[in-house]
Each structure stands twice: as structure tokens, then as C-alpha cells.
């Protein structure tokens, strides 16, 4: 009955892949992994480090277990674990992912002294007055005037963008970049329908809204249609 292998090693053009069976117990798996890696002496002796992908199927591995497996593999040979892939997500992770992908809409004026912070994208229907702050881990879209501070990608996402119907911010922040308004702004200058993003040379650029289509094609999530 036994003797179906719990650990299989496959070579692909990107490197090695370790398939770990998801029906056996974790202890068994560890044991077999240990044995297999010690056995296979025909692995070339040269010093070159090989990166391996570990696929664990429908097994859930806690952070500690992941570390344990990585250590185990690293000790044996000149192998480096590139990634551990699993089909299983905890509720917590799933909810976090869901929140990050969501667009949170808020319809009110963000007034001086108020701070609004959301996970995911923020869609604000209203103004951000001077002294007010909006923060999002994703993008910020403002249907109104931005006169206060907007901080997009606040957990470190350089791809995040800020758009506003009227762009007159006191400060723009994207990820860990900061840009402040020039000291002299002429009132005549139309600042409507604009966007801000981080350019290739790591600066926050304010541009016409239309420019965003080229800069961040991933903003479009809609598929299909005509």
C-alpha cells in the first residue's frame, strides 16, 4: 500500500521543483524529504547554487513550518528555496487580499484635522479640505477637490496612483515619496482632471488624467465588452 512517493523532484528549464504530497502527515513528509535529499548523491558536486520551487498542493503550512522546510532543504545541498506554493489560504489572508483588492467608497467632505485611512483603493465622493488627510494602501480616486494631503500606496506600493477632479494638494505622497505643492500657484491655471504617479526616475509626476492609461495599464480591471 505504501511506497507511493511523498516527495518527487522534477527538473524544469527554470530549475528544480519539489512536489510534496499533501495527503501524508507533516512528520512523514519531513522524514522522507530528509532521506531523499541525503540519498541523491548524483546531484552535481559543483558549488553553483540551485534555486528550487516547492509545491505543497493542498497542504497548509504555518510560517514556522515553512521556515523549517526551507532550512531543511538549504542544509542538505546547494539548494535555495525560491518560493513555496500552496493552494490553501487562511481566512485571515483571504480577507486581507480581498480588502486590498476592494474599492472603498466614501461620500463626505474630509475636513481639516480629519484622517481617513483605508485598505485597498479609496473612492472619495467629496473634497479633501486643507489640513485633511486621506490614506490608502492602494490607489486614491477623488471626485472633488484635493486640497489637503493624499497618501496612496501607504504600505509601500510604488504603482499606486492618485487622481482628483481638482488637483490642488498641499502634499502628495505615494509609497515613500513625497511631493509638495509649489509655493506660488497661479489661480488661473486649471488643475482639473489630473493624476499623480511615480515616474521611472522615482519622482511624483502630476499629469493629465489621460496620461494614466499609458502609465498604469493595470488600472483597468474590466474584461470583455465591446
Amino acid at each position: 500500500m505504501k511506497k507511493t512517493q511523498n516527495v518527487t523532484i522534477k527538473g524544469t528549464k527554470d530549475g528544480l521543483t519539489l512536489h510534496l504530497d499533501d495527503t501524508c502527515s507533516y512528520a512523514e513528509l519531513k522524514q522522507e524529504l530528509n532521506r531523499k535529499l541525503s540519498n541523491s548523491t548524483r546531484v552535481q558536486e559543483e558549488d553553483k547554487l540551485l534555486s528550487v520551487k516547492v509545491k505543497v498542493g493542498n497542504r497548509y503550512l504555518s510560517e514556522e513550518q515553512q521556515e523549517e522546510l526551507k532550512d531543511l532543504i538549504r542544509q542538505k545541498r546547494n539548494l535555495i528555496v525560491d518560493s513555496i506554493e500552496t493552494n490553501v489560504l487562511t481566512m485571515e489572508e483571504a480577507e486581507r487580499l480581498k480588502r486590498e483588492g476592494e474599492i472603498v467608497s466614501i461620500a463626505r467632505v474630509i475636513r481639516s484635522g480629519q484622517v481617513v485611512e483605508v485598505t485597498g483603493d479609496l473612492l472619495l465622493i467629496g473634497d479633501v479640505n486643507p489640513g485633511g488627510t486621506v490614506k490608502a494602501s492602494g490607489n486614491i480616486f477623488i471626485m472633488g477637490s484635493l486640497k489637503g494631503i493624499a497618501h496612496a500606496g501607504c504600505e509601500g506600493n510604488d504603482e499606486a496612483v492618485i487622481t482628483a477632479s481638482v488637483m490642488k494638494p498641499s502634499q502628495l505622497r505615494i509609497s515613500d515619496h513625497i511631493n509638495r505643492a509649489p509655493d506660488q500657484i497661479s489661480d488661473e491655471e486649471v488643475k482639473s482632471m489630473e493624476c499623480a504617479y511615480i515616474s521611472e526616475n522615482n519622482q511624483i509626476i502630476v499629469d493629465r488624467l489621460q496620461a494614466l492609461i499609458q502609465q498604469r495599464p493595470n488600472l483597468t480591471r474590466f474584461e470583455g465588452g465591446r
Partner: protein, 267 residues
């Protein structure tokens, strides 16, 4: 059962006390029973503006700490027979002498006897502000057309919106100098109102007579001919539910008037 209106601004010196005195006076002139409450404990001056300073025997803190009954502390304004009363603030202690719950109780008691309880709020957003807002049903935010005052008004509106049981605040723009608005040296009415995005309940022109009247302890609203007085009377009528068009700031300034008309949807 009457209603309590708090007059607040965040920033000091924009005319909260003058506005409170004049709205109270104007409401009394309309035949309503009004009680003015000064909550600026330690820095009272509503009594000075009303010219009632030398009749004060007890004050707000005496009432709250049970040293006297409410009616003993109320100062009656003889100019209005039985219409206008003032509950003065204490001068010898500070804002921490009163808790918001005690204030709410006091205002609730006053609402039984008066049509309107007008609460004069101190500047700032600390204890004094919290006390003043505790018992209020409605709020009026006073600002001047200056960036600093508007910024503070914005902050206060944000705080008022969080307050439970309070209607959305209304806006008074005070100390308007029409020639400065025309020349663009001052934010115009439209600009302030859009920025703060709350309903405008009145605009008051800057007038030396207002200061003169306050110095004599006679609120300007008693003078039937003055422009600022009419502005305050109009505000009182709007509080009573009448719809009164906004005052024309300057006869020669048609552009401004059209703007205001447009603001109110009159074509």
C-alpha cells in the same frame, strides 16, 4: 420646549460673542423668549456686550455646583420686558469646573422655559467647546472671509458633524468688506461656502457701528437702520423658519449680487 443653538467658530476673535448677543436680541425683538448662555468660563464678556455686567450676582458655575437656583443666576434684560435673559459665565474659575453632562442638564432645564437658548461658545476645541456643544440641538458656525478663520471653521464643522443629536451646522460669514471681496483681496462668499460645503444662514458686513454699539453695551440689532443690524435680524428670521433673501452687500456691485442670487438659485 425650546431649542438650543450653539454659536461657535474654532478661531477666536471672529465675532462669536457679538453674533450671540445680536441673534439673541433679534430673536427677542421677534417676540421669542430667549436665554443667552455664556460658556466662556474664566473669560466672560457676553455680559459686557449686552451691558448687563453690573447686575450679575450668581453665575453658571454657581448654578451647576448648586450654590443657587437657575432663576437666581439669570440676569433679566430690562429693555425686553420678559423676553431676554442672560446666564453669565463665572470669572473666578476655569472651564474644567463644568462637565459636559452637567451642562446638558442645565440647557435641558432652560429649554423648558425658553423658546431659544443661545449658547456662546469659547474659542478652541477643548473642554470649553465640549461643554458648550453638549446641550445644543443646532449649531451656527461663525467665520470671517480669511483663510485662517475658514480653516478653523472647517475643523469645527468636522467635529460638529460627529456630534450626536446635532443638526448639520449652518454658516455665518462675518466682517465682510465688500470692496476687498471685489478686488479679490478677500475670499468671496461663494468661495467660503463652497469650501465649507454647509448651508449659509447669513452674511454680516464689517461695520464700525457694531464695535461702537458693543462698547456701549447695546447690541447693534437694537438699531433698526444699521446694515449689520438688519443682517442679524434677517438671521433671526431665518432661524424662525422664514425665507429671507441674502442682503445686498454693495449697491453698486451688481456682479456680486448676481453671484449670491445664483448661489440661492434665483435667476
Amino acid at each position: 420646549m425650546g431649542e438650543a443653538i450653539v454659536i461657535t467658530s474654532g478661531k477666536g476673535g471672529v465675532g462669536k460673542t457679538t453674533t450671540s448677543a445680536n441673534i439673541g436680541t433679534a430673536l427677542a425683538l421677534q417676540g421669542k423668549r430667549v436665554c443667552l448662555v455664556d460658556t466662556d468660563i474664566g473669560l466672560r464678556n457676553l455680559d459686557v456686550v449686552m451691558g448687563l455686567e453690573n447686575r450679575i450676582i450668581y453665575d453658571l458655575v454657581d448654578v451647576i455646583q448648586g450654590r443657587c437656583k437657575i432663576h437666581q443666576a439669570l440676569v433679566k434684560d430690562k429693555r425686553f420686558e420678559d423676553k431676554l435673559y442672560l446666564l453669565p459665565a463665572a470669572q473666578t474659575t476655569d472651564k474644567t469646573a463644568v462637565e459636559p453632562e452637567q451642562m446638558k442638564q442645565l440647557i435641558d432645564d432652560l429649554k423648558q422655559d425658553y423658546d431659544y437658548v443661545v449658547i456662546d461658545c469659547p474659542a478652541g476645541i477643548e473642554q470649553g467647546y465640549k461643554n458648550a456643544v453638549a446641550g445644543a440641538d443646532k449649531a451656527i458656525v461663525v467665520t470671517t472671509p480669511e483663510a485662517s478663520a475658514v480653516r478653523d471653521a472647517d475643523r469645527i464643522i468636522g467635529l460638529l458633524e460627529k456630534e450626536e443629536g446635532l443638526e448639520p451646522p449652518k454658516l455665518i460669514i462675518n466682517r465682510i468688506r465688500s470692496h476687498m471681496m471685489e478686488s479679490g483681496g478677500m475670499m468671496d462668499v461663494d468661495e467660503v461656502t463652497t469650501h465649507l460645503s454647509i448651508d449659509l444662514i447669513g452674511i454680516v458686513a464689517d461695520d464700525e457701528e457694531v464695535i461702537k454699539a458693543s462698547n456701549h453695551g447695546k447690541p447693534i440689532a437694537l438699531n433698526p437702520d444699521n446694515k449689520a443690524s438688519i443682517a442679524y435680524r434677517n438671521i433671526a428670521r431665518r432661524i424662525l423658519g422664514e425665507s429671507v433673501p441674502l442682503q445686498q452687500l454693495n449697491d453698486a456691485d451688481k456682479g456680486m449680487f448676481t453671484k449670491i442670487k445664483r448661489f440661492f438659485g434665483v435667476r
